[in-house]
């Protein structure tokens, strides 16, 4: 299971600054179990955002948001509501956010931090997409993760090592992650996101929180030894 935790509302409102209309996306997979993106959570978020003066154009709770093909089909039914929105708020793990960003030409904001995958890697090559960093930055990078898409995991823009949009480290298999981010932000008219204050990561948050370590994996192992 992929464990996610909702970001504080203030952080989410920060992402939505300057925007009025938003479309919400939830997930019936892991995010339902974690109570970050099940239908009740999505409706709760809808209420909170409306209280803050935002208009929610619609919402969709997909069975498995990490399944990119499924996401595309499900969101198609909400095309008009999505078109009417300034952006989408995705209430799941980082893979779900990236899957939505990959199929929709709108800015996508993460509503949660992915803290630990607890074994599962998602349906869409999760291990290469989300590093469970516990401090999701996909809002700044148009839904392309700089930790996994950039060889160096750079947070503040491309290095000088890209050629024809490919990373010099493994050009045959790797695109330059920051080239992808740049292309998407350019298309969305949000290149301003590439010139903000320096982003520094809190690497403590990459460690699974103690509660999770000692409940999911650790506790299971303890169970086994007791049996």
């Amino acid at each position: 299971m992929i464990v996610s935790q909702l970001k504080p509302l203030q952080e989410i409102l920060g992402y939505l600054q300057g925007e009025r209309k938003v479309f919400l996306v939830g997930c019936k997979g892991c995010a339902e179990v974690c109570h970050t993106g099940d239908e009740a959570q999505v409706l709760d978020m809808k209420n909170k955002l409306e209280q803050e003066g935002k208009a929610v154009t619609g919402y969709c709770v997909v069975d498995f948001l990490c399944d990119k093909a499924l996401v595309k089909i499900r969101l198609l039914a909400h095309q008009d509501e999505i078109q009417a929105a300034d952006s989408l708020l995705v209430m799941t793990c980082g893979i779900g956010v990236q899957a939505v960003a990959a199929v929709v030409d709108k800015l996508v904001h993460p509503a949660a931090n992915t803290v630990n995958m607890g074994g599962s890697r998602g349906e869409w090559r999760g291990s290469e997409r989300c590093r469970e960093c516990g401090d999701c930055v996909l809002d700044l990078t148009a839904g392309v993760c700089p930790l996994t898409a950039c060889t160096k995991g750079l947070l503040n823009g491309p290095c000088g090592g890209a050629k024809d949009g490919r990373c010099e480290v493994e050009p045959e298999v790797r695109e330059c992650g920051w080239h992808l981010i740049y292309e998407r932000l350019r298309k969305l008219g949000r290149l301003d996101k590439m010139t903000g204050l320096p982003v520094l990561k809190d690497y403590r948050r990459m460690m699974p929180p103690k509660e999770i370590r000692s409940t999911i994996i650790w506790a299971l192992e303890q169970q086994e030894t007791k049996v």
Binding site: K152, G153, P158, G161, K163, E168, H179, T195, L200
Partner: protein
Amino acid sequence: MTLREKLSSGKFVVTAEVGPAKGVDTHEFLENVELLKNRVDAINCTDQQSAVMRLGSLAGCYLIKQKGGEPIFQMTCRDRNRIALQSDLLNAYVLGIENVLCLTGDFVTLGDHPDAKPVFDLDSVSLLYAARQLEQGKDLAGKELTGSPKFFLGACVTPGAEPLEPQLLKMERKVKAGAQFFQTQAVYEPKKFETFMKEAKKFGVPVLVGIVLLRSAAMARFMNKNVAGIHVPDELIAEMDKAENKLQKGIEIAARLIKEMKDMCQGVHIMAIGLESKVPAILDAAGL
């Protein structure tokens, strides 16, 4: 005069880089420093260039300083986390080193220890920011310093990148984070550099155009194939091919490029990569 003073006085500035040895024999390094110290305004010391383990940049800069040269301390984020990077910034300051070139660094697999753990806790932008914080008497954790350093902070940009816009966006971010001068990746196309400078001018920071000395046509072809952001045009490669004395031709081309781009920017940064002894000849030929 320091590099900062020279650039602010509007003088056209010349810098050149030297690379320390892989080992502790500093003989050649010191010879190069001796040769360059009165010929250029500042000397960059590379930081384990191309991710190859060697004598470090901080020790190299200290030696340059001891010899009476003005060092530029190149720092990459590949090998040290934020604790070590900030500490080395403080170390540099107490050793009398003011100029720091903040770089992200080549990836480890490109070097001679491909099995090393890549760090990249910070990057060029956040390293500039860290240096700025230290100047203001605080570290990245917000803790107070006893005595704060003062730096002249530099950064790198690739004028030949395609597309160019991401480089300019990052340049803007570097200026906002604290960059006070730029030394560029090697440029062989003055026209492209002119286009770049038209955009880069708006940041109001001095730019030193990068020149890498060509030693053969094969080297040019190798860079075109393998080094991102460097493009040697076919005419220059043909010129190198035809030349009898390749090195002489390389010096001539470098001098010509400097002359063509001199009026577009505030200085030149020469990377001779092992042929530091030829830098004076390039400068002579360029009339500098």
